[in-house]
Amino acid sequence: MTPNDKTNIILTGVPASPGVAIGKVFLFEDDELVLIEKTIPKNKIKDEITRLNQAIVKTKAELQENQVELNKMLGKSYAKIADAHVLILNDPMLNKDAVALINEGNSAEFAIYKVTEKITKAFDLIDDEYFRERKHDIVDVAKKLMRHLQGKQKKTLADLDSESIVVSKNLTPSDTVSMREVMVRGFATDTGGKTSHTALVAQSLEIPAVVGLKNITSQVSHGMSIIVDGNQGIVILNPSKETQENYKREHDIQAATQKNLEKLKDLPATTIDGKEVVLGANIENPEEVRSVLKHGANGIGLYRSEFMYLTRKTLPTEEEHFSNYSKVAKMMMPYEVIIRTIDLGGDKISKLGLMNIGQEANPFMGLRAIRLCLKYPDLFKTQLKGILRASVNGNVKIMYPMISQIEEIRQANDILNQAKIELRKEGKKFDENIQIGAMIEVPSVAVVADIIAKEVDFMSIGTNDLIQYTMAVDRVNEDVAFLYDPLHPAILRLLKTIIDAGHNAGKSVGMCGEMAGSPEFSIALLGLGLDEFSMSAIQIPKIKNVIRSVSMKDAKNLANELLKCSDRAAISGVIKKFKYR
């Protein structure tokens, strides 16, 4: 019996976007190295070598095009990496051996496959991990070459239909950009965590998704029946009739609950004793604003501007920044729009494949976000000018990400001032008093939030990174993910420190991390005094429901009780007691 005959095969992954979806597998594959055995008659050998050389030329052109883009985006040192790829393609080890194999009567595809196999085997024997891992670069180049040999176009997600559940190893921003307009029922991927690009896109499109399934791509075939359960983080392959019916019922129940929550849309997020908070949305691009307003948000607490950089081939111009941000600002008036300056680097860059060669041993603690911007001030200034100009079209604020010391805010403000001076000279209008905020996501500034609060107009807590950095835990790593605990005493104290520091300086404190959109934490955060919650738009009705059901007095009591806890058991006890109060 093959696996395809079995019903109800359950795979467990990470729940990335809630909801359930029933549909058919759309297997979205990367380029692949396939072994094609074909004998070439003697009189065709020359043609076969020509075919290989033509494929090499096309691959080289593709690599060089990538190189130009990298150069524009990140500067010469990154583009050097693409140099290495071109050299791999022209390497005598690859070329001479492949030609020798073709001369023996093998196809070009067979020759490339065999040569790559031989080289990767040799790399596997290297002790040093860095050099051993370079085999992936060679395989990447070989895969591109193979694609050109077979004359295949790079696949896109444009062929999807409304029944499709996209199954792939991983989805990059360039993959998903072609998908925005298309109906997809769900996502299931081999890799990724709760904050991976796939998860963010799925949440913004309100499509159920399960990520981190490890090897789902090797277990499914195109068109297979599949259920994605984004609530539990499981995927069911070949579901039985009964399972399908159960899930259909579950789907209907959820749709009904959703309808009830939607009724809250035009009601304020006010506690029963009258304290009102701002519920904002996190977005990646202007198309999401409609959904944001539909869910009753009164602000954009986080506009992730890096999406602009990731879905295109050239660096965005000041005009493009301006028009993009203006669109959002106009649609959101009179509500605020907090634009986070680019948070490129780390995972987002590696997803583009730029970090494959690993210039940085530890990109999460490396050159990213504000650090990258201060190193490349022109790149930063172009964006700042675009934001400044958009400020005449709405209620726009600027937020700097990954601040780890006060000097970074001052340096960023210096560049902002230069941008203002240039705009004045150019006669372009902007809001002279535009508000500046710091994202608090590095423990160093959380601890000294009182110092930061004096320097900025507002602060917004990025809990995803704050918790990871504080707990020293990568929550995508399943062996340690349990340590990622938003209610850990250290996290609660940090949150209190930040919020109190903000309020003492008369500044508002928001939160744009995932914690802000999780109903189980809402009351504690309310009790700690959080002024603004920003989350994925679909979560807003749920959070509003929680806030409207509690009094500020009870919320404060809960927060105080939680702050006294020293371990997980005590925390669970307090929460349980509160629930049944």
């Binding site: 050097k80 990496i81 140099d83 290495a84 050299l87 390497d91 790399f123 050099f131």
Partner: protein, 89 residues
């Protein structure tokens, strides 16, 4: 034939970027240039060969050039090695 022992002095070793630099420089010469490390001999014009040497900081490599421009080739290699490939040492 000209020979010269050269040491990898940059912190990160002969990783992809410096390896590209060596290959690009070697390709400018007509001479055959080989690099010997322990029992391995690789072509200096092959980036994969260079990376397979896994030459970390402090590794000593024997360069051999044979051809009409062998002396220039070796002195060019010496120059980029002694410069630490323009990277942090």
């Amino acid at each position: 034939m000209t020979e010269k022992k050269l040491r990898v002095i940059n912190k990160l070793g002969l990783h992809a970027r410096p390896a590209s630099m060596v290959v690009q420089s070697a390709m400018k010469f007509q001479s055959t240039i080989t690099i010997v490390k322990d029992e391995y001999t690789v072509d200096a014009k092959s980036i994969m060969g260079l990376m397979m040497l896994a030459a970390a900081n402090g590794t000593e490599l024997l360069f051999r050039a044979d051809g009409i421009d062998e002396n220039e080739a070796i002195s060019k290699m010496e120059e980029i090695f002694n410069n630490g490939f323009g990277e942090e040492i």
